[in-house]
């Protein structure tokens, strides 16, 4: 044996491993014993408890949906509340052959096959085992009675009282407050399944959507004992849900109604803002629609009617309608040019009725073909003189113009809490290079000076730009929520105030706007003359984008719908601005003739008391009156 030690080692190793294997075996027996003990405990000791849980009386956890927060207008008038409503629910697991149960429901309530298909879709969307899925809402007394009589044929079917969203103001706030609707599958994927386990509705548009998190509240749950037919026998444990927060709007129901009346059935948009606070007092997009059918599920036919209507009632003109601002942009251009130093309040331009760039033949026309002669700033705004602003734009150049107009909020989202606001467009050299792969042409600068060309704005942006004129550049994002459970909304990315080299520049442009209403040759002097307070305003017209081909309607209507949109922005009283109003009347043609009277009617509704006099709290301070004269 040459290597006896090696053999010895082997033996020792083998003994060591045998010992360890024995220890391992002991551990295995011990732990398997532990498992058996655990299973014995669950299956023998706790058998009664668990079999109760699972078999005879199914104890299950059911979520209790929170009550959605209420929405009030600024004076406490209710805009969105929750109404008790009886709905028919079905639990697949308890129904057994649930498709057959659906057949019975359809038979008992004498419903159509379409509705049965809808029911089936809703049942399939059920998320949790044993969850009662609502299939039919707003049951009538008779329907409840019929279900009760046939209850024995309808296992798993229950009539449940639910709180369903209701909008008592109907059409008035469909575009601002929006509506809730049933959670669809796409939304379900993005939601916290626990937080929404008992909730069937979610904010789809407007305030309901934007403040969904605040309005929704927190889910509660209860452990209930039910019998095999699904009837709840008793509640074992309950954790109450936390209701959603109540929301107070900045909107005023009365002003909203007055504004809609002022529009007089025409299609258009109105935004009224309180300049000192940025609160939106009225927000009108006409025609509108009743949001209530959307809550419980609008029928396909009714929806198609709304969607395909030539008047586009579902289209939110205030936030999503894009229009060239036209001449309404001129006061802001004037402020910009004064601050940039390219004009002075007294510098003049001669208007022969057109403007020509040096060495270019093309004539850029003034709207008044005969020309206004020598024109200064005040005159240019009052008369809405295009020649003056072509010249101003040429001197400013696109880069400075883009910079200043961006500070007025053009080409960006301005609101604090409005869902799906579009940003519009304030063109620039970079934008054109990226969009068209072309350089910027000087002629394009000229027409920007009178608010035409590539520029696209929403009525909300126009109202905000006018608000900045009224507040002398103080930026507060326009918002719809005054307070959420007493807390005002917070602007997480405030925009910087517009600081001019001389605050007097504001006054020159504002005086021009005042002259539009009250000057001897002001374009809207007819409206201004009838006012008991001083207004500063500016008209504008927006050319209509060509209507899509292939749409079917009368010729007379087509022609009417090719007319220009009428725009008007204004604030009043001039000395102490209380309200800014922007109006867009679709195909209204004349800003001063059609939109300006609407503006004044809205202002009257806000500023005047019952006797037709300016409310005392809005009266201009005496010293301001004196100093201005």
């Amino acid at each position: 044996m040459p290597q006896p030690i090696r053999l010895n080692d082997h033996d020792k190793d083998a003994r060591l491993i045998r010992r360890r294997a024995l220890v391992g075996a002991a551990v295995v027996f011990l732990l398997i014993g532990l498992l058996v003990a655990r299973l014995y405990y669950l299956q023998v000791v706790q058998y009664e408890y668990h079999s109760t849980l699972s078999e005879n009386n199914r104890v299950h956890v059911q979520p209790i949906p929170p009550t959605r927060g209420l929405i009030f207008d600024r004076n406490g008038v209710i805009v969105a509340d929750n109404r008790p409503s009886f709905s028919l629910t079905l639990s697949r697991e308890r129904a057994g052959d649930w498709e057959q149960v659906l057949d019975v429901i359809v038979e008992v309530l004498e419903l159509s096959d379409d509705e049965r298909a809808l029911f089936e879709k809703r049942v399939r969307q059920g998320r949790r085992p044993f969850e009662p899925v609502p299939v039919l809402f707003e049951l009538s007394e008779e329907q409840i009675a019929r279900i009760a009589v046939n209850q024995f044929r309808l296992p798993g079917v229950e009539v449940a009282a639910q709180l369903v969203r209701h909008y008592p103001q109907g059409e008035h706030f469909a575009h601002s407050v929006g509506y809730v609707g049933r959670i669809n599958e796409a939304e379900l994927k993005g939601l916290d399944p626990v937080a929404y386990s008992g909730t069937h509705h979610i904010g789809k548009t407007g305030i309901e959507r934007f403040y969904e998190a605040e309005l929704h509240g927190e889910v509660g749950y209860e452990e209930v004992e039910t019998n095999a037919r699904g009837r709840v026998l008793r509640v074992l444990k309950r954790t109450d849900p936390l209701p959603g927060k109540d929301l107070r709007l900045t909107l005023d129901v009365r002003l909203q109604e007055a504004a809609e009346a002022a529009l007089g059935g025409r299609r258009g948009a109105i935004v009224a803002i309180q300049p000192a606070t940025g609160e939106v007092l009225a927000m009108v997009s006409q025609p509108s629609f009743d949001p209530n059918p959307f809550v419980t599920g609008i029928s396909f036919k009714a929806y198609a009617e709304l969607r395909d209507s030539i008047d586009r009632p579902l289209f939110n003109r205030v936030l999503r309608g894009l229009y060239p601002p036209g001449s309404t942009i001129k006061p802001m251009m004037a402020v910009a040019a004064l601050d940039a130093g390219v004009i002075t309040p007294s510098s003049r331009v001669f208007d022969p009725g057109f403007y020509q760039l040096p060495n270019v033949k093309h004539k850029y026309r003034n709207w008044n073909r005969s020309g206004d002669g020598w024109v200064n700033l005040e005159m240019a705004i009052m008369r809405s003189n295009d020649t003056y602003f072509y010249d101003l734009a040429h001197k400013m150049g696109i880069d400075r113009m883009h910079d200043y107009m961006t500070r007025f909020g053009l080409g960006q989202r301005v609101s604090l809490d409005m869902f799906e606001e579009t940003s519009g467009l304030m063109p620039s050299r970079d934008w054109k290079r990226a969009r068209y792969r072309q350089p910027w042409y000087p002629g394009e600068t000229l027409i920007l000076g009178i608010g035409q060309g590539y520029m696209q704005t929403t009525p909300l942006q126009l109202a905000q730009a006018a608000t900045l004129m009224a507040s002398r550049g103080k930026w507060i994002r326009p918002h719809l929520a005054k307070s959420i459970e007493g807390q005002p909304p917070v602007d997480s990315e405030p925009l910087p105030d517009i600081q001019l080299h001389d605050t007097k520049y504001w006054d020159y442009a504002r005086f021009g706007m005042e002259q539009v209403m009250h000057g001897p040759r002001g374009t809207a002097r007819k409206v201004g003359d009838s006012a008991v307070y001083r207004i500063a305003g500016k008209s504008g017209t927006a050319q209509v984008v060509a209507i899509k081909q292939g749409e079917k309607y009368d010729r007379s209507k087509v022609q009417e719908r090719h007319r220009d949109h009428a725009l008007f922005v204004a604030f009043a009283p001039v000395e102490n601005p209380q309200i800014v109003v922007a109006v867009m009347v679709e195909n209204g043609e004349s800003g001063s003739g059609v939109a300006a009277p609407v503006v004044k009617q809205v202002m009257d509704a806000w500023l005047l008391d019952d006797g037709g006099q300016l409310k005392a709290e809005y009266a201009p301070p005496l010293n301001a009156e004196v100093s201005r004269r």
Partner: protein, 382 residues
């Protein structure tokens, strides 16, 4: 010495001669094969009920069994010495694949675990590591003297920790713990001193605290919290535990009968055919059914330990012991978590849960056990 040696030889020789039948020549261990086939049959039986009578799924599982058994036969033909030679390379390849998965793996259910070459192959390298890990440590320690010295322990630990961290990053807590266990069992079998074991257990506390704050993902923390108090979130992650306990408990001693479990068939029980399948078994076959299954497992483990003791080479002993003990960990962790003893980590129940990958890994492990047992040489070596 000599006589002692002769006596051992002759007695073993007798045993050998008695059993040297067909199975021996095919390098198959009859006891293991019999137990595995019983488990396979039982698995399909339970799976039929747990999957809601899904025959397609059953066929898939049966074919996975077939593939796994073929793989087991092939591995059983390989000599342990041959394995030991290739283990280091396999280890390096495994670590390389894990790195590849972490960098560019295929995403399934929020965790990156798969290598996917479309149309060619799709597998989890971490699964592969469950076999390579103990083999590597066994290979490393079998060349040293036992019990291992501090230096060798440290190197072994380093070898274990690299793949552990890589799998943890995927993130896959369940598999990474199994991999660490499989490596640690080799050290245990190799006679790691008790003071080191005690020390490691003591050190686990700060490590666990550190993991909680720096390593564990949000969903993993949630599982642990839910385990500690399932009632805290009955609608969310506590649901699984509450429902699986109810399923097990309501089975009683004899169970509700095959296909008659209400918890699983009414969709109360999530993942009833994968990780939580024991709850279906417990509900339908009661305590008796679970105990029979546990008996099968105990017999498999006992046979594994016998093979460990009878193995001739140190490599074989260490590897066989570690594989057997790891198999036990599977069983214990899975049943422990479903019955609410342990937090929920994704460990399937061996041979019963649906899933081809784990099945193939497990059967490969038993292939190695068979190889170790049937390649013993007596006369020729002397």
């Amino acid at each position: 010495m000599n006589s002692n040696f002769d006596r051992t030889l002759s007695s073993e020789d007798d045993v050998l001669r008695r059993r040297a039948g067909l199975l021996q020549r095919l390098h198959i261990d009859g006891i293991l094969l019999l137990l595995l086939l019983i488990l396979a049959a039982g698995s399909l039986f339970i799976l039929y009920s747990a999957s809601g009578k899904n025959v397609a799924l059953l066929i898939k599982q049966a074919s996975s069994f077939g593939i796994g058994l073929v793989g087991m036969f092939i591995i059983a033909q390989l000599e342990p010495r041959f394995m030991a030679r290739w283990v280091p390379l396999a280890y390096l390849a495994g670590v390389g694949l894990l790195v590849a998965v972490d960098v560019m793996g295929h995403n399934a259910m929020g965790a990156t675990r798969w290598i996917n070459i479309p149309g060619v192959i799709r597998f989890q390298p971490s699964e592969f590591m469950k076999i390579i890990m103990p083999a590597t440590i066994a290979w490393y320690l079998s060349g040293r003297s036992l019990p291992p010295r501090l230096k060798h322990i440290c190197i072994s630990l380093a070898l274990i920790l690299v793949p552990f961290v890589l799998i943890l990053l995927q993130p896959d807590l369940g598999t990474s713990l199994l991999v660490i266990a499989s490596g640690a069992f080799v050290l245990f079998m190799a006679g790691l001193q008790w003071r080191w074991i005690l020390g490691a257990v003591t050190a686990l506390v700060p490590v666990a605290v550190g993991m909680w704050f720096f390593v564990l993902r949000e969903y993993q923390k949630q599982r642990v919290l839910t385990f500690l108090n399932p009632e805290s979130d009955p609608l969310g992650s506590g649901w699984n535990i509450i429902q699986s306990k109810a399923a097990i408990g309501s089975g009683g001693v004899l169970g509700k009968g095959w296909l008659l479990g209400t918890q699983s068939h009414l969709d109360f029980l999530p993942e009833s055919h994968t990780d939580f399948i024991i709850a279906v078994l417990a509900e339908e076959f009661g305590l008796v059914g679970v105990c029979l299954l546990l008996l099968m497992y105990v017999l498999l483990i006992a046979r594994g330990l016998v093979i460990t003791v009878q193995a001739q080479t140190l490599f074989g002993k260490l590897l066989a012991g570690a594989l057997t003990m790891t198999f036990f960990v599977y069983v214990f962790v899975n049943i422990g978590m479903v019955s609410g003893l342990l937090p929920v980590v994704g460990v399937p129940l061996p041979f019963i849960s649906y899933g081809g990958t784990s099945l193939i890994t497990l059967l490969s492990g038993f292939g190695i056990l068979m190889s170790i047992h049937t390649h013993r040489k007596w006369i020729t070596q002397v």
